[in-house]
Symmetry: C2
Subunit: 348 residues, 2 copies
């Protein structure tokens, strides 16, 4: 690589250089990723399809003034948004127009996600709030002297308020985990002990659902982590397995060592939570960790779910530099696996 191609290579944006004959003189890796290979030598019209960008390039070759254009594309079902910077260039190597593509997609996507999030939270709160307000009004008026109705309504109000409280608690958890996501936890955590204490806490729930739980763990399943957060991961996963697995369900939890996980590129520990419930349809699986995504909204609400449990799991696992794997066969149950890098004395 030499000449202006070396300069383009140093620009951390997709960039191409177009000559006065409208042919591409040079392109960097970002541009190849975006527009395909073999850009050099091609006529501009065969590589770019945005009329506004083409026009700006022509104009800048004429008047040598810089220009800025934004455009949206929707390729392969993915909306992207770019700001294109066009500037006239004249060096000993060549003269032409430098075109840099600034990808605004992520920024716009983040703004959209925030708005969706606010709308979702508001919606989640509005339903129990409306119920609460209705009951308060009924208790003030029609049901004022009906003790049986009063008792019943207060019971429902309590569970609605508790649901809102869980939502608020999960929102705070999620925001805390997100804010720490780049800081890898450093404690030595025994996963066998973590799961043991989660199972102890969930025993009453499991008994209610006549759910049998088998747990096998070899000794020394140590990871680098945060104890509280890993408790939360397995609480959420095992609670889901109990709640959605159906009555009389059998849950199997196993822990094992993996000599080298291909994705993590390190020795790892694999924790599996498998239920024998109805399973999850494949189309839902990739979306399960999205905030407020639910396979069955009504059922999730009935179970007291906030729609944030798996999102919290995913972020905690990310923070631990691990990964979450979900698989299921309809009618045969689902398996949630957490793979965490094994504790390495050298790193400590």
């Amino acid at each position: 690589m030499q000449g202006l191609a070396t300069v383009l290579a140093g620009i951390p944006l997709a960039a191409i250089l177009v000559g006065p004959d409208d042919r591409i003189i040079a392109a960097n890796q970002g541009a190849r990723d975006h527009f395909g290979q073999g850009l050099e030598g091609r006529h501009l019209l065969t590589a770019l399809r945005q009329p506004d960008v083409l026009e700006a390039i022509e104009a800048s070759l004429r008047d040598r003034q810089p220009r800025k254009i934004t455009y949206q594309t929707s390729e392969a079902g993915r909306d992207s948004s770019f700001q294109v910077h066009v500037g006239y260039v004249e060096t000993l190597d060549a003269r032409g127009t430098l075109v840099c593509f600034e990808d605004l997609t992520e920024r716009e996507h983040a703004a959209q996600m925030r708005r969706d999030f606010v709308a979702n939270v508001s919606h989640e709160l509005r339903t129990p709030l409306t119920a609460l307000m209705g009951f308060i009004e009924t208790l003030q008026g029609p049901a004022r002297h009906d003790q049986a109705a009063i008792d019943r309504f207060l019971g429902i109000m309590q569970s609605e308020a508790a649901r809102m409280e869980r939502l608020v608690r999960d929102l705070l958890s999620l925001s805390r985990v997100e804010s720490e996501e780049r800081v890898r936890p450093r404690e030595e955590v025994n996963l066998g002990q973590v799961i043991g204490s989660v199972l102890h806490a969930l025993r009453p729930l499991a008994r209610d659902r006549a759910c049998e739980i088998t747990f096998e763990a070899p000794d020394g399943m140590i990871v680098r982590g945060n104890d509280d957060q890993l408790q939360q991961v397995f609480t959420n996963l095992i609670e889901n397995a109990i709640k959605y697995g159906g009555t009389g369900n059998h849950i199997t939890i196993t822990l094992e060592r993996i000599a080298r996980d291909a994705t993590l590129r390190a020795p790892a520990i694999l924790a599996r939570v498998r239920d024998q419930g109805p399973g999850i349809e494949p189309l839902h699986i990739p979306r399960l960790t999205e905030r407020f995504y639910r396979v069955d909204t009504h059922r999730s609400r009935e179970m007291g779910g906030t729609g944030l449990g798996l999102a919290i799991v995913k972020h905690i696992v990310n923070r631990h530099r691990g990964r979450l794997r979900i698989s299921s066969t309809l009618g045969e149950g689902a398996e949630f696996s957490v793979i965490l890098p094994q504790w390495d004395r050298q790193e400590a």
Copy 2:
């Protein structure tokens, strides 16, 4: 401008080119904005102070490999965060290292704002929720047969639930306004009529507080806007003036034409809402439009405020390409002015 300087000018990031003698060959406007004028010819060490960046530049001159470094600065009380891209360059004009500075500050600031927002919303909800849950429990137990207590508690529960509902409603409003902020509204709106109908709706509240309101408006105060949103702006401003102005307060609302507003660079309409209340301390004024910022949290809650009213006003005014001006003298009251571009038949 010629040579590699023309290329640097076309890069939409702060960028400098450093020669093998560690002197800056060229810099673009972004770099001058960031590091100051007169960079060309200076020794690298006198312009950049980040040891990691200096080291990466040296190393890339030696081995010709690209490098990426991130660094944080805190200058003039403002935290900034950069990703620096360093790449070896060799053209007919010069050889050296191209250094591009990608500013990550805005992106990180947005993430931080989202987390703060979630934490704030959760906190705002938690207080009334805890109160509600406490009352439900009391009604189920100790106060079960005490009709006077029941009536009193239900009254408080109703106002707590109503407060949460207002918060949810304001959250949704804010998220809607934000999502439309780039789309300028296009209807012809008569501001005199808008304020007239807001005053009509707020009459009972004003009467409760023994608050006198004077409103003067010449005819034809027309702006380009959205009727509902402008109603919300003046509802929030006038409601605040009534609530925080104190009992027996006098509020003066005026509308006038400005031949040319210096900031908007256009003929404008100025709407002023002035109260004779206790006024606002200067240190609070710049922060009043932040979400959940409150001069007096306890007092705001007592008044039923959500902490979002002025944030909504600011975003609506932004959407209208107008501006909000707040001034106050302690002991003499406060004035909230909204300046909106005047309706222009040519634009329509």
